[in-house]
Amino acid sequence: MTRFFSTNTSIFIFAFPALFIFTAFVVYPLFPEIVISFQKHNGFSSQGFVGFKNYIEIFSSNSFWKANTNTFIIVLLSTAAGLPISLLLAFLLDSQANGTRRYFKAAGMLPAILSVTVIAQMWMAIYEPQWGLLNSLLRAIGLESLSQEWLTDRGIVIFSVAVAFLWQYIGLNTLLFYTGLKSIPKTYYEAALMDGAGPVKSALMITIPLLQEVIKFVLVISILGSMGMFAHVEVMTGGGPGYFSRTIVYELYYKAFMSSEFGVGSAVAVIYVLQCILITLVLNRFVAREKIEF
């Protein structure tokens, strides 16, 4: 029957306008960047083609590899640490009465709806070494030895920024997991209870397998979202000290717009987009495996 509706005209009318604007304003502008990535370009004008020189320069620069490591750390933290925490919170939330639930849902979403500028400014105040909340708290409970220069210590800075980033979206992920939990039919649990399974066992045996589609997809989105992390770094540290808290997108921004090496920046952009496409393909293969129906 749908075939009856799928005439060339109707497909064209439904698909063309959005696809056209998307192509014109998002995809098409990418092509000049690909060309520029093979040029020596200062952002104002091109100084001619240089072949793969920009790419070679990137791969031999410390800052690019640091940016990759940092991005990897953030991706790893938001998936390996962030998602389990969100999932656990969702379970805890599921066990609670309506009032607590409503409160937590409203609270958890708040960081996600505020602008990154506000969130990043707040975390800067928390991390401030002299009067910041974190160090003040540590001093107050007698753990002064643990206080740090959170945003200027080369070894720590990327974790400090990552925590701020993670924190902003943990409530949101919790909410999404929770919504998934809610839609699992209660009959499954009743059956499990009759078999004598405790809450932990039923969570492991029933809920997580049934939630796996949600989990997989949150995983995909978390990975892509943290790949593109930029604004938190920009506001909190400006990539510093030196290049020690740059992410890949910050590195491309730094090269293209701050140090006026537009060609090099464009090359970083091309690499970044390729990385994202690659990750999406790999994850798609993994995610697209057979789904559990019930």
């Binding site: 004008s45 002299q130 006026s260």
Partner: protein, 439 residues
């Protein structure tokens, strides 16, 4: 279930976009548009010339100049010119987009960090001929200071040339801790030690993005040992492996290591650094003299002193670094359709700048026939400027955009205290050798 995860995950996807494409709100800008009032005064039959102007609005001084001078006086002094204003704190970013698109404003604020690229692209007009013909050039006290390579590409009040890095201090804090004004670098270190023991942050300076190290600290730490070396560096005759240069870097590192700049100094912005000083949290403040007027008015016990000495070739005040660059000022687009009117506008803008700075007691090189009596500290600063035998331009304005950005970048690491002069030389010297500014 299967459907549910799809909607759910799509929701996450769209929400995470908030992160991915999230805003980068700390790139500040302000822009305004309006047209000059008072068109009634125009000569009949004369169509107003419409010009686009892109100016800098990075601080309060700039905003005052815009509001109370440029906009206020336009109708009287330049009848027949109608301006479409755009103000931003990041002119470089804007100009990149305009330059690439070919849509340049008729008149724009030129900065040393991006002007070379616009000049090389042939888009910034050489003003030498037209201001020589009109005689405007004669209003400048130091004409050579306008020259960049073969011509004159920007007109400014010249106030920049009188801005020098100073050390501000709280007289009360010094007195309470029995500290004399340091005349040598070692005394500065001792004073800092004393202050640290007393639980006071010795020095405030903006370290984020390497602001203070790059704009003045490294250079001054070099020239307090031997001004000639700083001069050679500025003239591109030596590089950062020179022993005196290395000593200078070590002086920054030493202060950072002992914590003289306070914890987390490498991430302190311009505003908070100044605030640490005005709120009496830091005893000293290293900054250019452009903050002088404001501090003198608002900090009762403020004093200034010259950079202390670290060698026999320099005594405090004998050599100074000055800020100005021939490329900082108002520039005219070579592509403007109304070049003549645009040049007039650039001249007018430089004059308004000069009026503001004269009114606030600063020195300018552009004579606008105005005078004022400076406040005591301001006068002391002017005297110090006149007494200095050696005046060295700023090192950062002698760098192309890439070099100066990387200079700041690695400079910020010096403020962390666990980055040595050798690290800096290893990281930065090759970049310095590749600097294209002098080509």
């Amino acid at each position: 279930m299967r459907k549910n995860w799809k909607t759910g995950t799509a929701l996450i996807m769209s929400l995470l976009l908030l992160t991915a494409c999230g805003n980068s709100g700390n790139t500040p800008a302000s822009e305004q548009t309006n047209t000059a009032p008072g068109k009634e005064k125009e000569v009949v039959n004369q169509q107003p010339v419409k010009l686009k102007l892109l100016t800098i609005s990075s601080d309060q001084a700039r905003q005052t100049i815009m509001k109370e001078y440029i906009k206020a006086n336009l109708a009287n002094e330049l009848p027949g010119i109608e301006i479409e204003y755009e103000e931003t704190s990041d002119v470089g970013a804007k100009m990149k987009v305009y330059n690439a698109s070919g849509e340049l404003p008729d008149v724009f604020w030129s900065g040393a960090d991006y002007a070379t690229a616009i000049i090389n692209a042939g888009n910034q007009l050489n003003l030498e001929q037209s201001i020589t013909d009109s005689g405007f050039i004669n209003k400048f006290a130091v004409k050579e200071a306008l020259k960049y390579k073969d011509g004159i590409y920007a007109l400014s009040s010249g106030a920049d040339a009188y801005f020098t890095p100073k050390i501000f201090y709280h007289k009360d804090i010094f007195q309470a801790n029995n500290i004399e004004i340091p005349t040598t670098y070692d005394e500065l270190v001792q004073a800092s030690e004393k202050l640290l023991e007393a639980g006071i942050q010795p020095i405030a300076a903006p370290g984020k993005g390497g602001w203070a190290p790059a704009f003045f600290m490294i250079q001054n730490m070099i020239q307090i040992e031997d001004p000639a070396v700083a001069q050679q560096l500025v003239e591109n005759k030596i590089d950062f492996t020179h022993p005196v240069v290395k000593n200078g870097l070590d002086r920054v590192v030493k202060l950072a290591e002992m914590g003289a700049f306070g914890p987390g100094a490498a991430n302190v912005d311009y505003g908070p650094a100044k605030e640490a000083f005005t709120q009496n949290k830091a005893a000293m403040y290293m900054m250019f003299s452009w903050e002088l007027a404001d501090l003198e008015a608002n900090v009762p016990d403020v004093g200034i002193f010259d950079w202390p000495s670290a060698g026999e070739k320099y005594t405090p005040g004998s050599a100074i670094q000055f800020w100005g660059s021939p490329l900082a000022g108002y520039a005219v687009s070579a592509k403007s359709k109304n070049v003549e009117a645009a040049v007039k506008l650039a001249q007018y803008l430089a004059e308004q700048d000069a009026k503001y700075f004269t009114d606030t007691g600063s020195l300018v090189t552009l004579d606008v026939g105005a005078t004022s009596t400076p406040a005591p500290l301001m006068q002391a600063n002017i005297d110090a400027y006149n007494e200095a035998n050696i005046k060295i331009p700023s090192l950062t304005v002698m760098m192309d955009p890439k070099t100066s950005t990387e200079y700041s970048n690695f400079g910020s690491l010096l403020m962390t205290g666990d980055y040595t002069s050798d690290d800096f030389i290893k990281d930065f010297n090759d970049l310095w050798l590749a600097n294209t500014y002098f080509e």
